[in-house]
């Protein structure tokens, strides 16, 4: 039933299409803003022959929160939810639904394509930032390993968030707004709620994968629960992604997509 080269066909087509989209170019630019800010700050400091800003501190307090608490979520939302809603808006879903390809292959091919583009955008910004902020000593084993872990954590985060927002896109009407409410509403509030609430946010597990812990504000009852281990976090994130993806395929199969507004 699952046909690998058909999934590859979908993957290649949509990666090429996405790389040309205006949206992608905008987010690549957006991903290098922290780097530009860092260079600008140190540039001006040089003018005033002030002592330069420490790269590692900027990365830890500025770069990490930017990427792992804002950027990845936003881009995964705008791309993940769009996997299906773009096709419905432009009514092109009809071409896929009337081709000899299973709904599973369509979604896996498309999600993989959107994931890859999101990862490329993220990787450009994050790796450039990491390299410049840890320039002297970048070639040490420690830094290279940290960089690798940074990209790996980003990839897993993108997979998890994109599958969640794919599920939103497949089942809900106003998926983008609900996604925004989830990111900036629930995930931020959950940080300060008692332990169990944090367990049902993706960020909680993500925080154990990143090479540098993202500083967490103390909870109201300031009992900070223990972060899960690397392996445990990885497995739970992958498990969540698989569940979200399976649910999306199930709904996609069952739902009738009325592309026209009249009979």
């Amino acid at each position: 039933m699952v046909n690998k080269n058909k999934i590859k066909t979908i993957y290649n087509f949509f990666v090429k299409k996405l790389l040309r989209a205006k949206k992608t170019k905008f987010f690549i630019l957006f991903s290098i803003t922290p780097l530009l800010i860092f260079l600008l700050i140190n540039g001006i400091k040089l003018l005033y022959n002030d002592n330069l800003l420490a790269g590692h501190d900027f990365f830890k307090n500025g770069g990490m929160p930017f990427f792992f608490q804002f950027y990845i979520q936003l881009v995964s939302l705008l791309f993940g939810a769009a996997v299906l809603s773009d096709e419905i808006d432009s009514k092109t879903l009809i071409y896929l639904n009337t081709s000899p390809i299973s709904k599973f292959s369509i979604l896996s091919g498309k999600l993989a394509a959107y994931l890859s583009v999101t990862f490329i955008i993220y990787a450009i910004g994050s790796s450039l930032l990491y390299v410049t902020t840890h320039f002297n000593g970048i070639l040490t084993k420690k830094n290279l390993l940290a960089l690798l872990q940074l990209e790996f954590a980003g990839l897993i985060a993108i997979i998890a968030y994109s599958s969640l927002f794919l599920l939103f896109g497949v089942s809900l009407k106003k998926s983008t707004i609900i996604g925004l409410v989830y990111i900036f509403g629930w995930e931020t509030i959950a940080q300060i709620l008692p332990g169990t609430a944090q367990k049902i946010t993706l960020f909680f597990y993500l925080n154990s994968l990143t090479p540098i812990r993202i500083p967490k504000e103390k909870g109201i009852l300031n009992i900070s629960i223990s972060q899960p281990g690397f392996a445990e976090a990885l497995i739970s994130l992958l498990l969540f992604s698989a569940i979200f993806f399976a649910a999306s395929v199930y709904i996609f199969k069952k739902r009738e997509y009325l592309l026209a507004d009249h009979t």
Partner: protein, 308 residues
């Protein structure tokens, strides 16, 4: 070729909109014209036929197989959708090649079939241009090309010629007839009745969610008892001809249009009328220059049945 499409009392409604009510239909080979006013259930029927919608009651099978959620069936079906839908930032070639690859051919066959489809609709030389730069007619032809890639046994076309210029209309109609000759089944939905008449004699008329008529246009026309057949004759002695024809109980009505030297007869017994007419003309010295049946076409069938 057995029955290709079989529908048993299909009913479909969503919200308070009634799409179809108890449609049973069997379609086998050849070109079938599908027509009906907007909002009368024609698009709902096509959506059920292509598995986009599931009927609330009844079920439909193509080549004996169920349609909804059975994607393998599309190896044997080619579908041209109604909307002007196209992928942004993509060229004609990339789209056709993508659609062709979805059938799972090897690389060479995918390219050959895509090229052949593009060539058939005359888009080969503009295949590198972005679809957004195509005119409406060219996008329509591209859509049609995407439905003939797999040389399928069943072709379902939803208004395939909308916005296409007369030159390509004729070429595509000719192409469809060639497909019919190869024994393929083709469902063509269209609002332009002259187009359907140019392709086929078989029509399915859907109105108010029901099949009002299905079969040969001529037979349907004969079944419409409420409107007798109108035959118009242009000759040099209309009154003389009428006098000779009136003796029999054949005629319901005669109408003279002297300005055009035309007389219009209305009759229920069409064949007997023509026998008598031919005999009368050859028997008398009246020189006849024209015999036509003004309401023996799809437009009249449509008007009489739909009653617009």
């Amino acid at each position: 070729m057995g029955v290709v499409i079989k529908g048993e009392n299909l009913s479909k409604w969503y919200g308070n909109v009634l799409g179809l009510s108890e449609i049973s239909v069997e379609i086998s080979g050849g070109i079938q014209g599908l027509l009906g006013p907007n909002g009368a259930g024609k698009s709902t029927f096509l959506k059920i036929l292509t598995g986009q919608l599931k009927p609330n009651i009844g079920e439909i099978t193509i080549f004996g197989e169920p349609v909804f959620n059975n994607h393998e069936i599309f190896h044997r079906i080619g579908y041209c959708p109604e909307f002007d839908a196209y992928y942004r930032e993509v060229t004609g070639w990339e789209f056709i090649r993508f659609k062709s690859a979805l059938f799972g051919y090897n690389k060479k066959e995918t390219d050959d079939r895509a090229l052949k489809a593009l060539d058939k609709v005359g888009l080969t030389d503009s295949k590198e241009r972005k679809i957004s730069e195509y005119s409406l007619g060219m996008r329509q032809r591209l859509k049609f090309a995407s439905s003939i890639i797999n040389d399928s046994d069943l072709l379902i076309l939803d208004e395939p010629l909308r916005g296409v210029d007369p030159l390509w209309r004729i070429k595509i109609i000719k192409m469809l007839k060639e497909f019919e000759a190869e024994g393929r089944t083709i469902i063509v939905s269209s609002h332009i009745l002259a187009e359907i008449e140019a392709m086929t004699n078989n029509v399915i008329l859907i109105h108010q969610g029901k099949i009002f008529a299905h079969g040969d246009i001529q037979e349907i026309r004969d079944l419409i008892g409420s409107h007798p057949h109108r035959i118009s004759v242009v000759c040099d002695d209309t009154r003389g001809l009428a006098k000779k024809m009136i003796s029999d109980d054949l005629l319901r009505n005669i109408q003279f249009m002297d300005s055009e030297q035309k007389v219009i007869f209305e009759t229920d017994k069409r064949d007997r009328f023509f026998d008598t007419l031919t005999a009368t003309i050859s028997g008398s010295g009246i020189s006849v220059s024209e015999i036509t049946s003004p309401d023996d076409n799809l437009q009249s069938v449509f008007d009489y049945l739909i009653g617009r």
